[in-house]
Amino acid sequence: MTVSNEMEKAIIESVLQELSKRGVNPAAAVEEKVKNVVTQEKTSSEVSDEIIDMPDITKHWIPEPANEEALEAMKKSTNARIGLYRAGTRQKTDSLIRFLADHAVARDAVFMDVSDEFLQKMNLFGVSCVAADKEEFLTKPNLGMKLSDEAVQTIKEKCESNIQVQIVIVDGLSSTAIERNIPDILPALTQGLKAAGIKVGTPFFVKNGRVRVMDQIGMLLNAEVVLELVGERPGLGTAESMSAYLIYKPSEKTVEADRTMISNIHRRGTPPAEAGAQIVDLVKQMLDKKASGIKLNKA
């Protein structure tokens, strides 16, 4: 008898014993267990506890390069996937697998929600737009531009009106961007705005929302400036890029050119805390010049 058969026997015997202890009918249970045991496999090789990390694409992978230093400089100059050599005319295996990993993470960023724990930790209450779920949000943009009736109620109850600045946090196309950047940008914003003596409303979170939802919110609370922090469509591996949109006194007539936008806020773009300080300055200008978007540039 081979090892596997003896093991099986032992397992079956012990299972039978256990079952009879519990008073379970052995016969039926055995059939189920046997099926499982047969398909279970014992690994004969030695298994290590080491964890394999994702391939590192920040270094170059070129064997015997013509100029090592030039390569290092090139890699430093961009996060584009260069210098990763080739296998024939195709990518190296590690390069391909890293690409797939980055894609998986980007997809997860789009399809996952901002967690409740996160909102609690950041002391943000959450409301939803009309879009019922991610699928609807993705396929029907209009539904992400409008707050649900329940949301309108909640906002009216919990938020101050007639403030100078209303901060809104929207998941948009990347929940990961929100979870990664808000903890650093929000305190920088509130600190700076407070120090400048600006009246800031109660920040909150909007789920399944698009950029334009900020207009409705601005009108609802009669805010002078609405500052929206929203998740950008993820690139590969950069699932955490966030944009800030600002608008001065939005109305039904608001067009895209009225908005001021800062994009690529993330640790490999403009770091979130720094972006926060920049935005404080921007808000001061908007309140001073009473304009945003193209009108502000001209002022």
């Binding site: 230093e69 920088a188 800062i262 720094e274 920049q278």
Partner: protein, 491 residues
């Protein structure tokens, strides 16, 4: 206050005035400063274009005797050149005055500073350091650029009247500097004659080392001139090849020798003597050699021979004699990042001492940050530079989170409380992109009473000195000159 511009570029006139051991000259250029990310709201300022508008004549640095410089004459020279260039003082927005070489050693450096400062509007004026001279010469000659574009380590040797300044560049940055007291003017002669009119101290060392008997008023043979120039050239060569020099070369070094932990892949010669290094010139007769009354031509020839014999192929620089001046006019100007937290009226500030209190990185907690910083500040104060302003240079906070930036701000403030009571502005120079938020945190902790300069995306090191000029571009950027004082790295 930052204003958001659209294309947002500005052209400014910058002047570089180089007052050296032998010559004084001036270059005017027009710099284009552009917002290189116009689509974004956060501007990124870069110098995108450098156009040389005017090159002055090369004047002999006016001296009364070999111990004093005629500051009054220098001022006249500059006045005349401005007139020739057709540029009014007021039109010049920025630039630098660099006093180099032997001239900087002389006691009149202060007078020159005062005399020239008036021409520069709100210039930064750099008192020369041999190290700074090496850096500027290398930038002006094109060696720094070469090292960046070709990814090679390049040594630039700027052979002037009194000194040879060596700058080693890698990837466009300064890797190392050194200076040796050899130049074309160490021995002066009557023009087209073999009669010696002046022997400088370093030249005396060379002559003694060779066992020659020569004095002022005596005649010198071609063969002797050749030997002397060869000895000088070899000393220069040794600084590159041997690094740890000994004997005569060691005696002539004005700074510690070059470090040994890198390989020099290309060598460039610039400075007044360079024209002879790269030409077909050969010494024919004494009268021919001394046509300018100095050893320039023959030293140049000797350098060419020495390097050829060693098997080192010299790269040709973009500029030879003008190297240092161009360095001062254009390359001395770095632009700080577009995130500034400056209170106006405080600038310009000159000769700010740079300390680098976190060589191993910034700690996590404010208390630890304060401790490290306070140690450094105390050390500097003990060295009696209390008159100086201090700039704290660092690479980045513990991490880029808001909390870490805030901790850093608290740590800095705690350590600098005493310093601030002296009514000096708190100056932070940080490499990472967080100058604005750091400045925001600091200004809230420090309250309105104190002045704060927090600039980012600039790299400075311990031992550097910086000048910060008045803001340009509507307050968005400040010009910063990074430089090193002479004798700080004395042998």
């Amino acid at each position: 206050m930052i204003h958001i511009g659209e294309a947002g570029h500005q052209k400014i006139i910058s002047v570089g005035i180089d007052i050296g051991t032998t010559t004084t000259q001036l270059v005017m250029s027009r710099l284009t400063i552009k917002n290189s990310s116009p689509g974004a709201v956060i501007p990124k300022m870069d110098i995108t274009d450098k156009e040389i508008l005017y090159r002055s004549n090369i004047h002999i640095t006016p001296i009364n005797e070999h111990l004093l410089i005629d500051a009054h004459q220098v001022k006249k020279i500059i006045e005349a050149e401005y007139k020739l260039a057709g540029v009014k003082k007021e039109a010049v927005e920025t630039g630098a005055v660099i006093i180099t070489g032997e001239t900087a050693k002389k006691g009149n450096a202060k007078n020159i500073l005062e005399a020239t400062a008036g021409f520069a509007g709100d210039f930064v004026v750099a008192t020369a350091g041999v190290n700074l001279e090496s850096i500027l010469a290398g930038k002006g000659s094109g060696a720094a650029k070469y090292s960046k574009e070709n990814h090679k380590i390049v040594a630039n040797i700027d052979v002037g009247g009194g000194t040879s300044n060596i700058g080693v560049f890698k990837g466009g940055r300064t890797l190392d500097t050194a200076c040796i007291n050899i130049g074309g003017h160490l021995i002066e002669l009557e023009k087209h004659s073999d009669k010696i009119t002046y022997i400088s101290d370093p030249a005396r060392l060379v002559i003694n080392d060779m066992g020659l008997q020569l004095g002022v008023g005596e005649r010198v043979t071609q063969s002797q001139l050749i030997q002397i120039s060869k000895k000088m050239a070899e000393a220069i060569l040794e600084t590159i090849t041997k690094r740890k020099v000994a004997g005569l070369a060691q005696q002539l070094m004005m700074t510690p020798p070059l470090k040994e932990d890198y390989k020099i892949e290309k060598v460039m010669i610039s400075g007044g003597v360079a024209d002879y290094v790269y030409s077909d010139y050969r010494p024919v007769s004494v009268t021919d050699i001394t046509k300018y009354g100095d050893m320039g031509p023959i030293l140049g020839w000797a350098i060419q021979e020495a390097f050829k014999k060693e098997g080192i192929q010299l790269a040709k620089p973009a500029e030879t004699i003008r190297a240092t001046v161009i360095g001062a006019g254009i390359h001395s100007l770095e632009i700080s990042g577009s995130t500034i937290h400056v209170n106006s009226g405080t600038l310009p500030l000159r000769n700010i001492t740079v300390i680098s209190p976190f060589p191993e990185g910034v700690p996590e907690k404010a208390a630890d940050i304060a401790k490290l910083l306070k140690n450094q500040v105390d050390r500097i104060t003990v060295q009696d530079i209390t008159e100086q302003n201090l700039a704290i240079a660092l690479k980045e906070p513990y991490d880029m989170s808001f909390n870490s930036v805030n901790e850093l701000a608290h740590g800095i403030f705690e350590a600098m409380e005493e310093y601030i009571t002296q009514k000096k502005p708190l100056i932070i120079v940080i490499e990472a992109d967080c100058g604005k938020v750091l400045g925001q945190c600091l200004s809230i902790i420090a309250k309105a009473s104190n002045e704060l300069i927090c600039i980012d995306q600039i790299q400075v090191d311990e031992g550097d000195y910086i000048d910060i000029g008045k803001p340009v571009m509507g307050g968005r950027v400040v010009p910063v000159v990074v430089k090193t004082l002479v004798f700080e790295k004395a042998k």
